[in-house]
């Protein structure tokens, strides 16, 4: 059979199932992303191969492999582009004291612990840095939703958690650049120069010229010109970031921040979201799910790694975030609540692992082991957060401070 026939069918099924299963997960108050990854696992070569080995012939074909991979990577770029557009530099500056300190310490502690664990388990310098970077950024979705259900989102802890999430993502994607680029001390200093170059060129020049740029774009009469040119700029920025620091997403993120400062970007936001959430982003999550090699789970090394990083992911973040919140002025209880709220990891961890694999920081069997462990730790951290949060807020809920729960 023609591979093209299979490719179209695969993409079609992937999209339909991603949206359906994603919605089912939402119904059970779980992130839709987890459902999309599950679809990926179910459609992946590894799972299909267990039951119908005859059906896996097309997976390794170039005509199948490359389009699927590239669509997924465009999905990551769009994800970070949107994130950049929604990131208001002024909001970051206004991040409260508690949120600020707890974010920084909450990123550093799991990063360092992850790195040390990697070294102790003998993974070597660079994979260990990747391990640390994977553990840095919280995914606020589950926490926000659970706090919502518990009626405690409009407390000081809730507000601080939300505002911490913006900076957390910001630091998280920088951590992975460092992990990929830092192959040696020398490379590290070169990387510093490259990052500065990237920031100066993209953010600096971009922010100064964006208003003229938008004025120019307004004059272009072609249908959806502004959308097309903006996406074009996003890709050019990505290309430059890929060239300098091996992280296309950073360029997309900067392009998003820059365009997001203009009022005119309002008219492209909906179109970009339609394109992204309607096509590329779900296909990225399906793609990453499909990469999981289920055989890895029979490897004791993978199981040990998964257990270790699950523990570090939880302990590192709770301790770091809570310590920061305590220093920032919260009481012990609030600090603990804030720490627990920072346990879930999802999008940034998945984007980071893809980047580390694409950037060659982890390869071969190691990549399989890391990927599988990442899947386990994002799932576990996402699932345990709601009950833990409920426990930590039990006094507020009983006293009716938080209102009724409707979970």
């Amino acid at each position: 059979m023609d591979v093209y026939v299979v490719l179209l069918l695969y993409l079609g099924l992937a999209l339909v199932l991603a949206k359906l299963i994603g919605s089912l997960f939402e119904h059970f108050r779980l992130p839709a992303v987890l459902g999309e990854i599950t679809v990926g696992v179910l459609l992946g070569a590894s799972f299909i191969g267990l039951f119908m080995p005859g059906l896996t012939w097309f997976y390794p074909k170039d005509e199948f492999k490359y389009p699927v991979e590239h669509i997924g990577h465009i999905g990551i770029i769009l994800l970070l582009f949107i994130s950049g557009m929604e990131t208001n530099l002024k909001t970051i500056k206004k991040t409260g004291k508690v949120a600020m300190i707890s974010t920084v310490i909450g990123v550093l502690v799991p990063f360092i612990l992850g790195y040390m664990a990697g070294i102790l388990m003998g993974y070597g310098q660079q994979p260990s840095l990747v391990l640390g970077a994977l553990l840095t950024a919280t995914s606020i979705g589950v926490t926000a939703r659970t706090m919502m259900d518990l009626g405690v989102l409009n407390t000081d802890v809730g507000t601080a958690s939300l505002s911490a999430s913006v900076m957390d993502d910001f630091l998280g994607i920088f951590a992975i650049i460092i992990a990929i680029g830092a192959t040696s001390a020398w490379a590290m200093s070169i990387l510093g120069i490259k990052i500065t170059l990237l920031i100066v060129v993209e953010l600096g020049i971009g922010l100064f010229t964006v208003n003229y740029l938008v004025k120019g774009m307004e004059r272009v009469k072609t249908t959806k010109a502004m959308l097309g040119i903006s996406l074009g700029l996003m890709l050019i920025f990505s290309s430059f970031a890929q060239f300098t620091v091996q992280a296309a997403i950073e360029g997309a993120f900067f392009a998003g921040i820059i365009l997001g400062t203009t009022a005119e970007s309002k008219i492209i936001t909906d179109d970009i979201k339609a394109l992204s959430y309607g096509f590329f982003i779900p296909l990225f999550f399906v793609y990453i799910g499909s990469l999981i090699d289920l055989n890895v789970f029979t490897d004791p090394k993978a199981i040990i790694l998964a257990v270790v990083i699950v523990i570090i992911a939880i302990v590192g973040k709770v301790v770091g975030r809570a310590a920061g919140a305590r220093i920032g002025g919260f009481n012990w209880k609030q600090s603990l609540q804030m720490g627990i709220g920072s346990i879930p990891r999802m999008e940034v961890a998945l984007v980071s692992i893809m980047l580390a694999i694409k950037g060659g920081a982890i390869t071969g069997e190691l990549a399989n082991v890391f990927l599988a462990s990442t899947m386990i730790f994002v799932t576990v951290t996402t699932l345990i957060t709601p009950p833990l949060l409920k426990w930590s807020f039990k006094d507020e809920i009983e006293n009716g401070n938080g209102g009724q729960e409707n979970a």
Binding site: L153, A263, I267
Partner: protein, 164 residues
Amino acid sequence: METRMKKTLEKMYSMKVDELMDPRAWDMPLLQKDEPVSHVFFMLRSNNHAWVVDSEKTMKLVGVIERVDLLRAMLPPDSLTYAYGSIKMHMKNIYIKKGAKVRDVMTSKVITAKGGANLKEIMLKMKKYELERLPVVDKNGILLGEVTLKSVIIHFTRLLRETG
């Protein structure tokens, strides 16, 4: 008749926005960014929108609020979905946000018209961004007044009468 329309339209295209702007700037629906959010709700009972300024002294335009923004602010919070990078929606919800101010529910991306612009540019802008009203600002972003599609239409009919 045909030429009359054409003539009137051409006359209108080259008109400066300042000629048609309501000079009574104090009549515009105006709020300061740090007022409590309840003020917006009262104001939008009878207005479709409100311009938000830094303060009434500086008159620097910082945002706009339309009724649909208030719908978003009032939605039951469990109806909000959680896609990566979409937490801004939650911060705009007054059920979640404690002690919300006007600035919390406003849109800070405002499409503006510059004083001195001609009506052709204004109309094209209205079409492009699907807006029925634009704030008119000077080069420092100080709010001078507003121009609405309604005022454009009223002006057109007036010109039509004159030309006739």
